[in-house]
């Protein structure tokens, strides 16, 4: 109890005083910057974003820092830096909140700009910038601050390598996702990269990087065991086709340490698309 008490006092009193010596927020000429003393971590993210925290925690959230930029009396802008353990995790939570219909811009890996809001992905950071003000001046301020923050963070601006390898034909833009835990609701499918496709009907393809070829096969077998036995077809070349009561036919292929899959496709396109996906991960 004593140690807990000392630790709590340290976290709540000493750390905030020290914080600010190596600020992740850039200095911007003409703007006053006030960084919040509280650094939110996995223990107290609830205090900042309530129940939404649970989803962030699934993506190995590290911390959240917040600053407020003010220019005279005219514009106030809030900058929130959500840092995750890996770029894939940051991409994952970004993809969970992104909608394909947003107004996307090139900033960091990708961003989208709406009235009063600029959100973007930059390496291990998911950055949210917002203002109450409306009009061109406010929008320009968001963009300007966004660019400064992105540069200051100095992160790599690239999509996850696995996402880049998904086939281009039929691919729907801005539908890429990363699901860290329990893809399709199955606890044995973790770390899934997903992209939606359209060949007249919508379907999704996914890839999970396994630790080994054996692990990839184990995941496929676990899936087969999760559905009735007579719903499973084991095909040549590490391929499977199974009927899942929740999703219809799911086709799987184990390829060089990757589990590739296709969910919801029509019979005609299933084999063709899965082959394309598997081939992309044979190299």
């Amino acid at each position: 109890m004593r140690y807990t008490a000392i630790f709590s006092l340290f976290v709540s009193i000493v750390l905030p005083a020290l914080y600010g010596q190596d600020s992740p927020f850039p200095t911007i000429a003409g703007w006053e910057t006030v960084a919040e003393e509280t650094v939110y971590n996995a223990e107290n993210l609830w205090d900042a974003i309530n129940g939404a925290a649970e989803l962030f925690l699934l993506y190995d959230f590290v911390d959240l820092r917040i600053a407020r930029y003010t220019r005279g009396d005219s514009i106030e802008v809030s900058v929130e830096l959500y840092r995750h353990r890996s770029a894939s995790d940051a991409f994952g939570i970004y993809s969970q909140e992104r909608h394909p219909g947003y107004n996307f811009i090139q900033l960091g890996v990708q961003g989208y700009l709406q009235e009063g809001v600029l959100n973007f992905l930059s390496g291990v950071y998911y950055v949210k910038i917002s203002t109450l003000e409306v009009g061109d001046a406010a929008q320009n301020a968001l963009l300007m601050i966004g660019r400064k923050v992105e540069k200051h963070l100095g992160q790599e601006s690239a999509w996850p390598e696995i996402i880049r390898r998904f086939p281009a034909a039929g691919r729907l833009p801005n539908t890429e996702q990363y699901v860290a835990k329990s893809f399709l609701g199955y606890s044995f499918l973790n770390g899934a990269y997903i992209v939606s496709y359209d060949d007249g009907a919508l379907f999704r393809m996914f890839v999970i990087a396994a630790e080994t070829q054996g692990h990839a096969k184990e995941m496929a077998e676990a899936y087969c065991n999760a559905v009735p036995k007579d719903s499973v077809k084991r095909l040549d070349g590490g391929r499977y086709e199974l009927r899942d009561s929740h999703y219809g036919v799911v086709a799987l292929a184990v390829t060089k340490g990757y589990l590739c899959g296709i969910v919801g496709s029509s019979v005609g396109s299933r084999e063709q698309y899965l082959r394309r996906l598997s081939n992309a991960f044979l190299k």
Binding site: L55, G116, L202, Y247
Partner: protein
């Protein structure tokens, strides 16, 4: 597909804005992309009252205060799931109450539920959603001047569009932790108007810190019908929460529990997972709690949680597992004043113990400092005192705690967050 989307889900609780309808329709290729994962054939859902459980025992149901709603004791917190298949499966297992929020996934969470429920009879499910105030000071927990009834109701309209519903069963103000916030006139007006307009059958708020104060304020306010509160076995002030819940239940307020899993791990290093089923059962042992909304990520979690709906009995192993986690217990001073006669300096020990709980239980040293400053206790008051006979009926180390927490009065206010 919903035609409007939130432009921000900022923690600063700023204004909601909307996408232009044509832009949205033009650029949204997938529509409800989550519908891709919806089951090919909808489960054969009968009305909730006739729905059969896959478990042998009957589902345990409890009344939600005076709302007239009766719910299975286990519900579904959707904040972690963007998977419609889990919702369909939950319905099959007899779960009927789903909790979401305006801000989850920038609105995609509500959209997903709207996509799922569009084909179900409206009276076969219960939806609760939470709408945040326009502006709230995270340090004080008090709504700012930008908080208006109008802005709140605009957000509610957006939520209803996403959910494809004319009304929600329970509308909450999202996260209120202070009495002044619970009784904020603009928020009370917003809830009342929403109910009057038929957009919410029942109204309330959610709270996950300083819960007792917030819950007791709801009783005094007489407006809220439901409180969604953090309740779990690790809460240092669990006894105080339980007491407030009891009072609320007596006043006819329905209590729904959240954060029952207490963070999923006992330790920061995440090496000791909490027995989540036991934690859920623990909270539901209190019959004043109508139902709980554990977050559910996969079918395994769902099956485990749904099993609690028919069997609340705690096994010895589950009791042992929870005892492991009760490392922060013993912070709640029950105010018996048994200690006071033994203090030669006449210290207000219960108040100081409350400050200690604020600091180490609520992680709220600011409130603790405010309280301590108001008590006007001399410096180093326990130092060198050889005549102390104060004894705590709960066994608190009184002088040690007094000395520890009184240090807060020496810390400049600006260093306390």
């Amino acid at each position: 597909m919903d035609e409007s989307l939130p432009q921000r889900r900022s923690i600063n609780c700023m204004r909601t804005r909307y996408l232009d309808r044509r832009t949205f329709l033009r650029t949204t290729l997938l529509g409800g992309s989550s519908a891709l994962l919806a089951s090919a054939t909808l489960p054969d859902i009968a009305r909730s009252t006739a729905r059969a459980s896959t478990f042998e025992s009957p589902i345990i149901r409890r009344k939600l205060g005076k709302t007239g709603i009766e719910l299975p004791i286990v519900s579904f917190g959707v904040m972690r799931a963007d998977n419609p298949a889990l919702v369909h499966e939950a319905l099959k297992l007899g779960i009927v109450h789903f909790d979401t929020a305006h801000g989850y996934q920038r609105g995609r969470n509500e959209e997903m539920l709207g996509e799922v429920f569009k084909n179900y009879p409206r009276d076969s499910f219960v939806i609760g959603t939470k709408v945040h105030p326009e502006e709230i000071d995270r340090k004080t927990g008090i709504p700012g001047p930008a908080t208006t009834s109008k802005a709140f109701l605009e957000r509610l309209d957006t939520s209803l569009k996403r959910l494809r519903l004319e009304y929600v069963d329970i509308l909450y103000v999202h996260e209120l932790s202070r009495r002044d916030a619970v009784l904020h006139p603009e928020l009370l007006e917003a809830l009342t108007l929403a109910k009057k307009a038929g957009k919410a059958r029942h109204i309330g708020f959610s709270t996950h810190r300083n819960e007792p104060e917030a819950i007791l304020a709801a009783i005094d306010g007489g407006v809220h019908e439901v409180v969604l509160s953090s309740i779990n076995f690790k809460q240092a002030h669990y006894a105080e929460v339980k007491h407030a819940v009891e009072k609320a239940a007596q006043a006819g307020i329905g209590i729904i529990a959240m954060k029952t899993m207490a963070g999923a791990f006992h330790d920061r290093e995440k090496t000791k997972p909490i027995n989540c089923k036991a934690a859920l059962k623990f909270v539901l042992q209190d019959e004043n709690v109508t139902t709980a909304i554990p977050g559910i990520t996969n079918f395994d979690h769902l099956t485990v949680n749904a099993s609690v709906n028919t069997d609340l009995t705690m096994t010895n192993q589950e009791l042992e597992d929870l005892a492991l986690g009760q490392t922060q217990g013993g912070l709640y001073c029950q105010g018996c004043e048994h200690c006071i006669p033994g203090c030669p300096k006449g210290l207000p020990i219960p108040d100081i113990m409350r400050a200690y709980m604020y600091t180490y239980g609520y992680n709220d040293p600011e409130s603790a400092r405010t309280l301590l400053t108001s008590l006007d206790v001399p410096d180093n008051v326990c130092a060198g005192c050889s005549t102390c006979t104060a004894v705590c009926s709960k066994g608190f180390a009184i002088s040690e705690r007094v000395t520890d927490v009184m240090r807060l009065t020496k810390v400049p206010a600006e260093f306390i967050t």
